[in-house]
């Protein structure tokens, strides 16, 4: 019986020191794939390696032997003794393995649930497996189902809709205010990881120009170079407020950098064109009352955190829906796997009857002389319909048994009743 097995480690089971030993890059992937294929008992295999996980998906006739050889291989490959390696690995079989790959593909098993990169990585892994011809009937279907399910979950749930990082949430807000960010100007005051990340997102949304201001002008010049922007001095901020649309502020100043009165004056000069302040600094750089001015929007770090938190909650709720869809898909796939188990018996049954029919037909026709062609045809049709009708009920019965525990028993009985496992190829019943 075919078993689907997953052996792997992820960000939850293994620390990065371990995971980094299993990074497969372009230069060694061919060797690794060949090594795996050389392992006895493995029929199909697929290797997924990202920065957060490493796993092997395989099908085998002998589950336990295959598991042992794979773990042995991994130990040799990484130079980590088996005893040390085993506690960091998870091993899933059959429907658990199916569920696992479905969840990975749909980004339910990711560190940030709903992040979009994983699906592409799974697709790459599958492509590599195809190139090495290590994927066949079962894995092909499993992977296609994984992709289809991931896509369905993306479109039918909101799992990936809302941003869960502060910088990204800020840029999404900017889009809700300005629509298209193309042609907009942004001003970055101060420096800091989140502020710079937000600036990067803005640039990837094709804003027109980025101005950079800093207390130390040299630092401003350096950042401006990095973002291909323009450096301005801190005294120019007031004047530049009339020009820019988005201000990201992240200074270490203990006094507000942007005052309500200042913004009020600016808005008159701007003819009320909207202005969006993203204040990531603690203590805050922008006076809170600025938010009261018409067409001015101010979000400080806590506001953004609030959005991110509620988005994470939303994703978790959506994940419940997604898990239900995964359950459904797992059930369907296991059913298909079971039909796969019935197929060889049915085929053997049909083959056997067809052989008997051919032999008997030959005998009879050779002893019956003087039949016209159309009469010969009639005799042939007669034998054909008799075998078909006799086989009809047993085949239907076996197919219906596909999702029952009793399936194996009936398969066994059928094989014995019709003597399907004996090797006499002359097919002459004795």
């Amino acid at each position: 019986m075919i078993t689907i097995v997953t052996i792997g480690m992820n960000h939850e089971t293994a620390p990065v020191e371990l995971r980094e030993r299993f990074v497969f890059a372009d230069h060694n992937i061919d060797d690794v794939m060949n090594d795996i294929r050389a392992i006895k008992d493995i029929k199909e295999s697929l290797l997924l390696s990202t920065c957060n996980r490493f796993e092997m998906l395989l099908t085998t006739e002998k589950g336990n032997d295959a598991k042992e050889s794979v773990i042995g291989f991994l130990s040799r490959f990484s130079g980590i003794p088996t005893q040390e390696l085993e506690p960091t690995l998870y091993v899933y079989e059959n429907h658990e393995a199916i569920r696992h790959i479905f969840r990975v593909g749909a980004s339910l098993d990711s560190m940030v649930v709903g992040e979009p990169q994983i699906l592409g990585q799974v697709k790459d892994a599958y492509r590599t497996a195809l190139e090495h011809k290590s994927s066949s009937v079962i894995l092909n279907r499993l992977m296609h189902k994984t992709f289809a399910l991931a896509k369905k979950i993306r479109t039918e749930t909101d799992i990936a809709d809302s941003p869960v990082s502060i910088s990204f949430a800020a840029v999404e807000l900017a889009k809700k205010i300005f629509g298209d960010l193309k042609g907009k100007k942004a001003l970055l005051i101060g420096a800091g990881e989140m502020a710079e990340l937000a600036a990067t997102y803005l640039l990837s949304n094709q804003i027109n120009r980025l101005l950079v201001a800093n207390r130390t002008f040299a630092k401003a010049v350096e950042l401006a170079d990095q973002f291909r922007g323009t450096a301005i001095s801190i005294d120019e901020i007031a004047q530049q407020l009339q020009e820019v649309d988005i201000v990201i502020s992240s200074t270490a100043s203990s006094e507000p950098v942007i005052l309500e009165r200042q913004v009020k004056d600016t808005m008159r000069a701007r003819k009320n064109r909207p202005l969006f302040f993203i204040d990531i600094a603690v203590p805050r750089d922008v006076e809170p009352h600025v938010n009261r001015i018409e067409n001015v929007f101010l979000y400080d770090i806590d506001d953004l955190k609030g959005i991110v938190d509620s988005n994470i909650d939303k994703r978790k709720k959506e994940a419940v829906k997604a898990e239900r869809m995964v359950d459904e898909a797992v059930i369907k796939f296991t059913q298909w796997l079971k039909t796969l188990e019935v197929v060889p018996t049915i085929v053997a049954l049909q083959d056997k009857c067809e052989k008997i029919r051919q032999i008997e037909l030959k005998k009879t026709l050779s002893s019956l002389d003087g039949l016209s062609d159309s009469q010969k045809k009639d005799v042939e049709n007669l034998t054909l319909s008799i075998t078909k009708k006799i086989l009809n009920n047993p085949i239907l019965f076996l197919k219906r048994k596909q999702d029952r525990d009793s399936q194996n028993l009936y398969l066994d009985v059928a094989r014995k009743l019709f003597d399907l496992d004996s090797n006499n190829d002359d097919s002459e019943p004795k």
Binding site: D161, I177, P274, N295, F297, I307
Partner: protein, 239 residues
Amino acid sequence: MGFIINSMYLAFAYHKLGAIPALNFKASLSFFAWTIIAAYLLFQLKFRIMVLGSFAVPFSAFLMLISSTMPISTIAMRPVFKSLWLPLHVIAALLGDAIFAIACIAGVMYLIQERQIKTKRLGAFYSRLPSLNILDSINYYAISYGFLLLTIGMITGSIVAQGAHGSYWRWDPKEVWSMITWLCYAVLLHQRMAIGWRGRRSALMSIGCFLVLIFTFVGVNFLMEGYHSFESLRGGSSL
């Protein structure tokens, strides 16, 4: 689809009457519903905002419903109805009204969205509503074109009046209220273009203006006497 069928019906009615099918209140309501959908479709072409429809369609359906509950009345045809200026007057005025309705809808959507962003409570509508900037431009376009059509409607109206009554302006309540509506929108447009009103204030005022417009369209007919009111049209006494 419904729009096409309704258009066909209106064309047929126009043919049968030999005049624009908006002579009584029932017909003009249904005609108004048609122009709102027409205006929505035009804005859909430009801005591709489906969610506008989820406001415009129920509004239009509501008008149709009111229209269909009203008794059918036939109107005595008068030569003045056959004039080419009358359909032009009705179409310009009603299409203008419809576009103002779109401006009002965009204004309401703007206020909802702006409130959500300002108060930092991103509710259920947040992801469905378009950006503030797009809503504001819809509002702006709608007011500009609506104003143009309303102006045309009033000029052609006075030409019709000249043909029917011999004078361009008779201080009829409908005329007066149309003028007030026109002035409201003129002020709004001026504030937008010259002073740089945007966003919230403009949205609020376009809603206010639309309320005045609704009063001109509905209220005046019921509350005040005048030859524009449809009842007197039927009697034909004041014509």
